[in-house]
Symmetry: C5
Subunit: 354 residues, 5 copies
Amino acid sequence: MSKFIKKVSKKVGLHPGALVAIDEPKHQKVKITAIQYDKDNFQEKQIQTIEESLSCKKENAVLWLNINSVSNVDVIKDIAQFYKIHPLVLEDIMSTGHRPKMEQHGEYVLVILKMLYCSGKKKEILSEQISLILGPNYVLSLQEVEGDVFDAVRDRIRKGVGQVRNLGADYLLHILMDAIVDNYFVVLEKLGDRIEILEEQIITDVKPQVATEVHLLKREIIYLRKQIWPMREVLSGLQRGDSKVISRSVDIYLRDVYDHIIQIMDTIESFRDILAGMHDIYLSTMSNRMNEVMKVLTIFASIFIPLTFIAGVYGMNFKYMPELDSHIGYFVVWGIMIIVAGTMVIYFRRKRWL
Amino acid sequence: MSKFIKKVSKKVGLHPGALVAIDEPKHQKVKITAIQYDKDNFQEKQIQTIEESLSCKKENAVLWLNINSVSNVDVIKDIAQFYKIHPLVLEDIMSTGHRPKMEQHGEYVLVILKMLYCSGKKKEILSEQISLILGPNYVLSLQEVEGDVFDAVRDRIRKGVGQVRNLGADYLLHILMDAIVDNYFVVLEKLGDRIEILEEQIITDVKPQVATEVHLLKREIIYLRKQIWPMREVLSGLQRGDSKVISRSVDIYLRDVYDHIIQIMDTIESFRDILAGMHDIYLSTMSNRMNEVMKVLTIFASIFIPLTFIAGVYGMNFKYMPELDSHIGYFVVWGIMIIVAGTMVIYFRRKRWL
Amino acid sequence: MSKFIKKVSKKVGLHPGALVAIDEPKHQKVKITAIQYDKDNFQEKQIQTIEESLSCKKENAVLWLNINSVSNVDVIKDIAQFYKIHPLVLEDIMSTGHRPKMEQHGEYVLVILKMLYCSGKKKEILSEQISLILGPNYVLSLQEVEGDVFDAVRDRIRKGVGQVRNLGADYLLHILMDAIVDNYFVVLEKLGDRIEILEEQIITDVKPQVATEVHLLKREIIYLRKQIWPMREVLSGLQRGDSKVISRSVDIYLRDVYDHIIQIMDTIESFRDILAGMHDIYLSTMSNRMNEVMKVLTIFASIFIPLTFIAGVYGMNFKYMPELDSHIGYFVVWGIMIIVAGTMVIYFRRKRWL
Amino acid sequence: MSKFIKKVSKKVGLHPGALVAIDEPKHQKVKITAIQYDKDNFQEKQIQTIEESLSCKKENAVLWLNINSVSNVDVIKDIAQFYKIHPLVLEDIMSTGHRPKMEQHGEYVLVILKMLYCSGKKKEILSEQISLILGPNYVLSLQEVEGDVFDAVRDRIRKGVGQVRNLGADYLLHILMDAIVDNYFVVLEKLGDRIEILEEQIITDVKPQVATEVHLLKREIIYLRKQIWPMREVLSGLQRGDSKVISRSVDIYLRDVYDHIIQIMDTIESFRDILAGMHDIYLSTMSNRMNEVMKVLTIFASIFIPLTFIAGVYGMNFKYMPELDSHIGYFVVWGIMIIVAGTMVIYFRRKRWL
Amino acid sequence: MSKFIKKVSKKVGLHPGALVAIDEPKHQKVKITAIQYDKDNFQEKQIQTIEESLSCKKENAVLWLNINSVSNVDVIKDIAQFYKIHPLVLEDIMSTGHRPKMEQHGEYVLVILKMLYCSGKKKEILSEQISLILGPNYVLSLQEVEGDVFDAVRDRIRKGVGQVRNLGADYLLHILMDAIVDNYFVVLEKLGDRIEILEEQIITDVKPQVATEVHLLKREIIYLRKQIWPMREVLSGLQRGDSKVISRSVDIYLRDVYDHIIQIMDTIESFRDILAGMHDIYLSTMSNRMNEVMKVLTIFASIFIPLTFIAGVYGMNFKYMPELDSHIGYFVVWGIMIIVAGTMVIYFRRKRWL
């Protein structure tokens, strides 16, 4: 449940725009990586303070500043000062339970996204908030914790693969978002595999815990949906927007990301439908099994209870029971019992229970 | 159910705009608190009549008048007179079963909201209607009963934390709404905790009353949804609106509150989905258990009923039953019975019932 | 079912605009009440013909003509003639199974509504169609049968309470609609009470007929929804409309009625959700009970069937059964039977069935 | 199922606009009826070829040409030629599995509708596609088979009832559509009756086949919905449209038909909701009955199985069973058995099973 | 599941627009067919390279280039070069898990569709992505594998049937899409047949595997829906679009295809509703059967268990049991047993269980 709502109680009552790092100790070590490049040059270094990043800023080069924990209040304040970010924007960046959104401010554009990835063994889906700020010639990316899906992007910038070195900061924003969204597909694929396995199990051999697993998968889907749904608005906002920092030449790339989001949403909706159907089939199977169990019971009970009764009758100790004295009595009773049993069997055959 | 619809029968037939205090005795004691502040000054006092508040009104200072019960007709009439409020608006304020809404009138803006909070031990969600009237330089807040979520706001004004003392009455309206909406998160968190506990119970150890609890949670969610849903329109109305009393500089703050409302609605929808799923899993578990119970019964009955029949046969008192005279008859019968029982056990093993 | 669709077969094939009184004998006695008022004067009388109403018509005074049965074709034709109403409008008025709607015609505005009220003992919800025609200085109200929710309105006009005598015919239209909509709240309140009682029953002590009652309540809700839903369009049509006969000063009052309709729709949707939830909880409870019944059966059968088998074995009449001759045989068998029963009890305890 | 999708395989691969009569033999006899009228004259005759209809065409008179089978390719081609109809339009007319739609072409307007009626004894709902082409001064109506709902319309034209003889071809189009839509009400009424009967049965005395009947009714509703839903667009298209052949004076009549369609859709939605509710109540009733059956079984089994066990014990043939020798043993056992049975009865009373 | 999401992991991290053939070996043999025609001429040949196609290009003739596998990177690169296609467009064409879409670029229009067909014996629905690029005077069609639904189209071009030789490349695009969409109907028909058969089975004779089959059909429907739904946007985009390469004269044909898509979506929705209903009826039938099974068990058990008990009583071996000595005792007991059995039978008759 904690995935669905962040504990925000400590923030209640603070003035809007008050910076409080939520969920993490306050002065955690921050790791800042600065990548600066233009058509011909490429520079990458670890820096300690935001000032540093400014000192080496070149005209026309694109600067990508990756800040690895948003919980250090001092660093965030520095950013606010140097890049003239509105305090409310900073608050959004630091409160990590935020809904994906996109906001145009005068000089910069804020994009808040969820980075999704599957962790090692248990393949649980993890979500991390990432805030991207696109200004003229720079992109700031602020992550909750270390580890991201940008390694391939860094590689491409280093090696100058594709157009990234020829185009501006807005194209860098695009490829970062593209990397995040491409990873959604990986997550969906994992989910798809789990659904497929579960479906296989339900059809061939239902076990009780399957229902719980279907429920847990449903919850993952609900969670994913909540995270990804607002991305539509983010992307269409970026396309429609008339911000100075996004040139129209990037529009075709943004449309491409938008198409991916739509496709992901389609797939999520299909998964929901399929999981709903799996619950149905689970109930049907259970109902079937119950039927089968009951039939076995009914057949045994209905055949042997009358026979037991007949046997019981001739087990009575009455002084005068004429049948008992008959020499063939015993065999006649056997005969009657066989006829009764046979009739029952025929009856159940007729009903198709046997 | 009374949460879903207020008893309005006594009002039926009154002319529109007729002021009748609903639900409470008519001349209840009213508590009015006036807070007046500008950049340099701050004044807070309890007052008795609305006139008092006017007498000490300063040019350019922001006045916040908090009226603590809307059921005193005289006070409400005074307000109407001094602040030139339309009678229909007053009627809306006094009828406490109102839907959240926002209305622009010439000189002022009316905002009706629900203040939600969890009460002490039982942690039941309570709802109180609060009406905010924003005029030039003043905000009136009219509550149903004493006790609110504004203590932190008062503190901030007193101490001049943040921008509140620098900005106008429209910013005050914003921070009041922000305080109310922030408290929604607290309520959701409580609900989230209850859902989590219930989910835990359903998966590990279902008890019959769980179904009732899921139902009651669903009802709380339905109620919350009904209260919060119209807030979207309220907020977007305030942003879009062209009222003179709201300056455009407050827009970014209103957008922030709007984002919170959207996030709350998303979470409520997720809760609905999860609760629906919990009912499904509850039914599945019940179905499973029934199956297990029936299997136990069927296995016992199907093994022992035939055996009992065999025993019954040789308990018959026929004069001539050749088996009975055999010395090994008893042991042969035991053998047969063991074979029959063994066959049944193998049969149930094959069916995976054992 | 007859509530959902009126028998219209007899009308099929008539030319559009053909006037046929549906559902009632053709020349029923009609009761026409004329109320005429302005700021200073008030006049109320029963009249026989429409001409009468015209003869005494004063300049500037508002005339409210209430016609109590729409089934008298002659009277309706007179109205058409004197007030120049389009034949199709008259047809709409006379066919009482109509959907609420609002139509602007050149000189007048037609509003068709449903008047809902609960009848005496059984508290069944009844619906009656009422057509309101607003022209310059007059309002015609055409009801299906006698008895309405306008007594308070009449009283207010007589006594000049509120603004009704100062404002025009459009305000009269508003207070008539307001009276009708206020009565919807009374109906909802009744329904809310019934739902509450039913919910109480379902949680504490389910009886089979509860399912039927839930179903019947659902049907009432579906019916209400169908009647009230189109009222949104009616009200927003009146607000948006640019008809000459509605002055803009009445807009604030119409918005108030619109808000009420939205609130009613919200409540109806909540009721639907709650009733759906009640069916779920009903099924859960039934499933629980079945489980309990089956457990009792299984426990009894599983304990005693094996014991009965043991007793049966030693009831056999074989000549040579060594145990029978043993002096302690009987007590040993009792011991075995107690051990078997004890084992079963422990087994069921483990399974938490006991 | 065949109602939901027409067999179109033979058409796949033909060029668009290729005329192939589907479902019927190719050169079936066609029946063409021409009705021509103006204010003063009326003429009706059976004709053989389309040319004939043209020869007697008068200036200003309205011509209604009713073609009774669309499967004769030659006649359709003639129509195309004389009235200059686009080949794609003709294809639409001839493929009878079409969705209702409305298309404006330069000189004419095409309206494709479904004519619904209940056939004789089984009261099954039948659907027939009818295409109406409105040109200046003429209406072509092309039906699939003989028999329609227009007899009353023909009568009215013949006798000059209402306005039909005074108004143009567009009004004729309206009354044809009105006749078709009025018949929808008849169909709904029939369905409503069947639903009512079924509901009665479900509440009083459920039989297994009721579930199947509910399912079949649901299918009819789904089918109806699919046929009628697009009619909204057809009607609003006709109203909005700026075709020369529809004068604005007909708008009020079209709005009337539009209102009917909305009302029909409302009723269909209500029917869906009610049928969904009926399945719920059916499951509840079944669940109830099962409960009752199980209770009877459990009560009998739980009372008599222990008693049978006791009897079994004293039926054992041990040499040494002290109770057997007691003179009051038999009566004591009876006493014990009565106490056991009594205890069980009290237990079941407490559980409210008796 | 693999139908719902393509394995895209290998692509993650590549720069946008990087061309990688997914799912197939990289340098597969490509088959390119060039068809060139104008009013009078027609030419068709297999070519090896894209250059070839250009060399023989005539002014004013329409060129249709059909490329049969999109997995050959070299060929795709050639196309990009000769026809000046944007790299992102090529990426879309090569990644075969794409959502249907339509994009206008300066000189050409891209349409990505799904070609659906049923494969031979198992009649499984297969889906293949096809990309159509419409430029001035040419259409490129890029398919995943060999085999398509265009044979009839090729025939029509060869023989000059219909208007295809008179109209431009945009009309060719239309007839290709028309052929694809017409084939959807064939697929739906197949599905409809399977649904009909299943429905027949469910009503007459339910087998457990029916539930699984309903589930699988549901999945097919979900899949179809996902593939076809976006086609609406594609078609309306083509109609609305202001691309130079589509002349307005083709609009009426595009509208025709659009209508077909709407009709297909309607049918798919109907299928969903019907399948949902089939699950309901399946559960009802199962519930019914269980009821019947339980009744049989209950009747047998409830009649014979008490009788067995009576027999058991008189099988007891007490020394002093007065009834046993009675000469008529045995017959009296038979009488009692018959009375008890008869009472039970009457009781079950009353309950309508017999």
